[in-house]
């Protein structure tokens, strides 16, 4: 069984490796300009110098830390707001369409405004990161609480459960999976916005490194930094899957 499970992983890795080798050959034969696509080996080999010149690992943690801070802020805003929208039905109905619309707009374009208010510092990145994160959290919190099964609420009522226990022991646990979906989307959007703004304004962690390496025509380093960003997002994606599994074992 376990052996069977590994087959796709091996196929995937093999495919990746094959692509890399093909690319390497393509560059070597001059089919692809080296200044456009570097050799995969060069990309890998550029990690040490990237670390030395730009402190890749340090900046990895800068981006990671800001994402964590922005996510915390997004939770702080999104969860209570979602709860409020649930409690006040009229507000919920009034705002749900707006929130969905806002979620589909390029909030990132507002960065000049935030640069102006918070300055060119980490605060701007955190605040801008938290807005697109808070929206799905609020939406999903409301949805989760609204979606609590009527039967389960009736079970609570039939046992004369107090209002407080009703919330703690029935509504909250049943809403958790939905809320968590919101949190996961929120984290990904937060990360995306933070990296996007880092890249746009040349400030902060990994996004800035990509921008700077590109400005320096250090193409292998640019690719290496991009790989680092992919690693961060994978880390969050995977990490949240883990946390979710841990919270709801079945």
């Amino acid at each position: 069984m376990t052996r069977l499970h590994k087959v796709p992983v091996i196929v995937g890795l093999f495919g990746l490796l094959a692509c890399a080798v093909l690319l390497e050959l393509a560059v070597n034969f001059g089919w692809v300009m080296e200044i456009i696509v570097p050799r995969p080996t060069d990309t890998v080999l550029s990690f040490p110098s990237l670390q030395e010149d730009m402190d890749l690992v340090g900046n990895f943690f800068v981006t990671l830390g800001m994402t964590a801070a922005a996510t915390a802020l997004a939770l702080l805003i999104g969860l209570p707001f979602g709860y409020f929208l649930y409690r006040r039905e009229a507000y919920g109905v009034a705002y749900e369409g707006w929130l969905a619309a806002a979620f589909s707009t390029p909030i990132v374009l507002l960065y000049p405004l935030f640069l102006v208010i918070f300055g060119r510092n980490h605060m701007t990145l955190i605040v801008m990161g938290c807005i697109p994160g808070a929206i799905p959290i609020a939406i999903q919190t409301r949805q989760g609480l609204l979606g609590v099964s009527k039967t389960l609420l009736n079970v609570g009522r039939s046992f004369n459960v107090s209002e407080r226990d009703m919330f703690r022991k029935i509504m909250l646990p049943s809403a958790v999976p939905t809320i968590f979906t919101g949190i996961r989307i929120g984290v990904m959007y937060t990360l995306v916005n933070i990296v996007a703004i880092e890249y746009l304004i040349d400030f902060g962690g990994l996004g800035r490194i990509v921008s700077q390496m590109y400005d320096n025509f250090s193409i292998p380093e640019t690719y290496a930094a991009i790989v680092a960003v992919i690693l961060v997002s994978t880390f969050f994606y995977w990490g949240f899957g883990r946390v979710e599994k841990w919270l709801r074992p079945v």
């Binding site: 796709p8 995937g12 589909s104 009527k150 609420l153 746009l200």
Partner: protein
């Protein structure tokens, strides 16, 4: 209280009560708008007295006038046209490739499991970070915006299509087999109609995300398009026109989103969940997460 409210809420409300509820909703919306505008104006006014940041929060009427000037200027339509062209071409090409790949991933378990980790990794990475590569490969003209748009559109659509394929109710496929459908009939009569809903969801997300993708590329490097226009205004510190462009972009994005939502509702009007096991393809929620920027 809360739970009683929910339970009673499911009983079809009396129409007069319904009307008064609608009234409250509109009132809340109106008040929120007024409140936000008032807040903005307070900040703007303080700004012109030099109390807060100078100039960056212009008065609403300045923005309204700027919107008006944008709307009557020919160059706005030129920029809009470029963005629109980049968006359309990018979205259509990205989404079509994604549908094909999605179908492929949906049918082959091995390929799916082999590729999904990588797709997820790239799908959840901010696509803006690939801009250098795109500029390198596609140059800096509109082609790069199209490529960026295609890349942005690809991921939500590929995820929802794959999900849609996987969630097709297997009994419907068996029905097809019992009626001896050939491969082509299987695709056109069963797979495609059964997947319309999740794929449309992917399209809806994709349209929104392609807007962001194209604009950001234009912001970084372009010779036209709304993102470029925005960038110029910002660089020249023409703040009111900058907000005007942002307002217009937001309005267009919201309009595109509501258009897609309407389309989705139309497609779904007869539909109970098309998927098996009651698992609704809630692509807008879970499938949507790989789709960012």
């Amino acid at each position: 209280m809360a739970q009683a409210g929910v339970i009673k809420g499911t009983v079809p409300a009396v129409s007069s009560a319904e009307r008064s509820f609608d009234g409250r909703v509109s009132r809340i919306r109106l008040l929120t708008c007024v409140g936000l505008i008032a807040l903005w104006e307070v900040v703007a006014t303080l700004g012109s007295y030099g109390i807060l940041y100078n100039d960056v929060v212009p008065h609403i009427w300045h923005i309204v006038i700027a919107v008006f000037y944008e709307l009557i200027s020919a160059s706005f339509y030129r920029d809009f046209g470029m963005t629109f062209a980049a968006h359309s071409v990018g979205f259509i090409s990205g989404a079509s490739i994604a549908v094909l790949v999605g179908i492929w991933l949906g049918t082959s378990k091995l390929i799916r499991e082999a590729m999904l980790p990588y797709l997820n990794a790239i799908g959840s990475t901010p696509k803006i970070i690939f801009l250098p590569i795109i500029f390198l490969m596609f140059g800096v003209g509109i082609e790069s915006k199209m490529a960026k748009g295609a890349m942005s559109a690809f991921f939500p659509v590929v995820f929802t299509t794959t999900l849609g394929m996987m969630l097709i109710n297997p009994v419907l496929i068996r029905v097809g087999r019992t009626f001896n459908l050939n491969k082509w009939q299987m695709i056109t009569k069963i797979y495609m109609p059964a997947m319309v809903n999740p794929v449309i969801t992917g399209f809806r997300l994709g349209v929104a995300i392609t807007v962001i993708g194209v604009l950001v590329a234009e912001l970084k490097f372009a010779d036209g398009g709304l993102g470029y226009r925005l960038g110029i205004y910002y660089e020249q510190f023409q703040i009111a026109p900058m907000y005007a462009v942002i307002v217009l972009i937001f309005a267009l994005a919201a309009a595109a989103n509501s258009g897609m939502t309407k389309l989705q509702d139309r497609v779904n009007r007869h539909m109970a969940p098309t998927t098996s096991k009651g698992k609704k393809a809630r692509a807008s929620a879970s499938g949507g997460l790989g789709v960012v920027n």
